[in-house]
Amino acid sequence: MNAPGITEPTEAIARARAGDAEAWGQLYRDYAPAIFRFCRRALPTREDAEDATMEIFMKLRVKLVQYDATRSFSAWLYKVAANHCWDMLRRRRIRQDKETDDLENVPLEHPDASQLELLIEQRTSAEVRKALDKLGGRARMALVMRYYSDMSYDEIADALGVRRAFVGVVLLRARHELRQALEGNAALAAGGTS
């Protein structure tokens, strides 16, 4: 799950686990910006993201001894972050009623490809980020976990508490919501014509 060409600071991780405050500070400086951005994408306000980042690192410091050094540190970090953010959102029940409905039903239609192409062509990254803010908590979390932190379907299923088979459904529905937010085009969002 690590970025190509970037090695994990294994030595700093080992020292931080042994209680070295300086090494922990180094890890924090290296990873806090990425975790903050993760929270910023997943949570509704900047203040929430700031608080969540702080709380996640407090948790991480305590849990660092539990970290399995044979696995990816980034992946572990994101897992903790995703669980924390999803807990926050669930506690607030953001758009819960909308999200608990018909997860089983996913439109199996074929949307208008040229219309989708046009939409993707016209939209900028900033517009996509703005549209993300309009999405429900689960849709947003799913997209962030998949497209920001590159989490596997198993990890997403685990974090969101859904069956693995439904992760694709959640992601597709999230894309539909996003298209709707970007365009307000019901045809693209609902699956379109066959």
């Binding site: 970037i6 500070g25 400086r29 990254s125 996509v128 980020r129 590159d150």
Partner: protein, 561 residues
């Protein structure tokens, strides 16, 4: 519907295409989809559109559109946890300090001022020369109320800091203050006369207030309002039905003033009649044998001589009081010498805190003997309560620093950084410490600059305390390492402040420690201010964007070969 062979095929659904892109299909199904998309234009187009959608999503999420907030710059679990009880204690002690300040200083002062006929409920109004430039000040009844308002505003801004942006919170506080101050400002018809010798001539009557500024100011006629005068020599030979507010070298009252005299200057001589009180900041005041003052005198300065008649009390902070006339009230003096001549009659109590006992002529008629108290020159270092008060004042300082740092985090940090330029800070400190009060006094001489001068003086006075807070933060950083984060900086300031306060309690050396801290801190504040308002000569080079080790790129599937 068309009948092309392609459209006769059953198209792949979006879910299948997504799972294919994300490499979630088993090998057999993946090959099927691959084969289909190679034949079917519609599905291939949709597949490509969805891949582009994935890439757009990844790009949108990975872009660094906002920097890491400053409060997250460093891990601060310890600071967050440990600060909570410290602030509780600091706030409690500071509240005790404020109460002690009120009961120990402000309340007795108010009582004294009230006795002297200045209306003790309006200390601030008195200090700003009531009815002078800004009547809005009068709406704030006491200095304590102002302090309470500032503290409340500060705490309010802190509480809502996370909801409202810092800048806008500050703007809100200032806007509130400006509204409060601006609302009662009354417009009145006033006249201004300048030139070399501005004069209100003998047969002239001015209805309303008048501003006079010039080398020699003379009022020989009648003014049915207040006189605001600035000049080298000011003579009031006519009749003023309001107050005389003046700044100048000599003030001579040979005529009649029905109101008060509020002045800054060198010498005042009252030979005529004054209906109410005198407030004087300056070297000398003389009430001649022919002079009559209906109220009292409050003076901060060198010498006061009363040969004429005074209706009420004298409150004096300065060098010498010499009474040889009638005083209708009491006398309270803190100073060097008190002389009561044979012609004196004092109807109230006399309290004298001085270096040596009062010289009282046997012929003087006093209501009660002079109550003399030798002025303490040495601090009682050995007494227990001295140390208790040191702790309380340290806590009050911490609270003051906390409010300032929370209200102006960026400026405070700039000032702390500036303090590390030791030479520049110390040099500028000497200049500002001496220069600003002088400049403020000069500004007060002109009527227009009166408010600016007084405001500058108050700011300068407040900066004496802020300077110590800044220096404390630097000391804290020496011990605990540098930080660019607000709360850890406040923690370091607290540690530094405790050390600095300890330093100032050292006998004989403490005063110098304090002076050095003030010079250094005030220089740092000035340097930070200068840098803030300095015009930008060349655009600064943008710093290289931070590249985090994460997050990784999303693996987006494609049409496998």
């Amino acid at each position: 519907m068309s009948n092309t062979p392609e459209e006769k095929m059953k198209h792949l659904d979006e879910m299948t295409l997504l799972l294919y892109i994300e490499r979630q299909l088993d090998r057999a199904r993946g090959l099927e989809v691959s084969a289909h998309t190679q034949e079917c234009d519609t599905c291939r187009t949709l597949l490509r559109a969805m891949e582009r959608e994935s890439r757009l999503l990844t790009r949108a999420m990975l872009e660094e559109d906002e920097p890491l907030p400053s409060r997250l710059a460093q891990f601060q679990e310890r600071a967050r946890k440990s600060m909570q009880w410290i602030w509780g204690v600091a706030f409690g002690l500071a509240a005790t300090g404020v109460y002690a300040l009120y009961t120990g200083y402000i309340q007795p002062w108010q009582q004294q001022l009230e006795q002297a006929g200045f209306g003790g409920s309006n200390l601030l109004g008195l200090l700003i020369f009531q009815g002078a430039m800004w009547k809005g000040w009068q709406s704030m009844m006491t200095l304590l109320e102002v302090l309470a308002m500032v503290t409340l505003a500060g705490l309010g801004a802190m509480l809502f800091r996370r909801r409202i942006r810092r800048g806008s919170a500050l703007a809100l506080v200032f806007a509130g203050f400006c509204t409060v101050l601006a609302l009662p400002t009354g417009a009145s018809a006033t006249e201004h006369r300048g030139g070399q010798n501005p004069t209100v001539s003998k047969d002239e009557t001015i209805k309303g207030d008048i501003y006079l500024s010039g080398e020699r100011v003379r009022v020989e006629g009648t003014v049915e309002g207040d006189v605001f005068a600035a000049g080298k020599d000011i003579d009031i030979d006519g009749h003023v039905s309001g107050d005389v507010i003046s700044a100048g070298r000599y003030l001579r009252i040979r005529g009649t003033v029905d109101g008060n005299i509020r002045s800054v200057g060198n010498t005042a001589v009252i030979s005529g009649t004054l209906g109410k009180n005198i407030t004087w900041f300056g070297d000398s005041v003389t009430v001649d044998a022919t002079g009559k003052v209906g109220g009292g005198i409050t003076m901060f300065g060198g010498t006061l001589a009363v040969d004429g008649r005074l209706g009420r009390d004298i409150l004096f902070f300065g060098d010498e009081v010499n009474v040889n006339g009638d005083v209708g009230g009491g006398i309270r003096q803190k100073g060097h010498t008190m002389i009561i001549g044979s012609g004196a009659q004092v109807d109230g109590p006399i309290h004298f805190d001085g270096d040596r006992p009062a010289i009282v002529s046997p012929g003087a008629k006093l209501a009660s003997p002079v109550e003399f108290k030798q002025m303490e020159k040495k601090q009682s270092y050995r007494e227990g309560h001295y140390y208790v008060w040191q702790v309380i004042w340290a806590a009050a300082f911490i609270l003051f620093g906390l409010v300032l740092f929370a209200l102006m985090p960026k400026f405070s940090q700039d000032a702390v950084k500036s303090a590390e330029h030791y030479g520049a800070s110390a040099g500028l400190g000497v200049l500002v410490l001496c220069g600003v009060p002088i400049a403020a006094c000069i500004a007060c001489v002109t009527v227009v600059g009166l408010f600016i001068g007084i405001s500058a003086f108050f700011l300068w006075y407040a900066s004496l305390y802020f300077a110590q807070v800044i220096v404390s933060a630097v000391i804290g950083q020496w011990l605990m390492g540098r930080t660019s984060e607000l709360w850890p900086l406040i923690g370091r300031m607290t540690v530094g402040l405790v050390i600095l306060r300890l330093g100032t309690t050292i006998p004989h050396l403490g005063g110098w420690v304090k002076l050095a801290a003030i010079l250094w801190g005030i220089g740092a504040i000035s340097l930070a201010l200068y840098r803030r308002f300095q015009p930008v000569i060349a655009p600064s080079v943008p710093s290289a964007p931070y590249s985090p080790p994460m997050p990784p790129n999303t693996t987006v599937g494609g049409v496998p070969a």
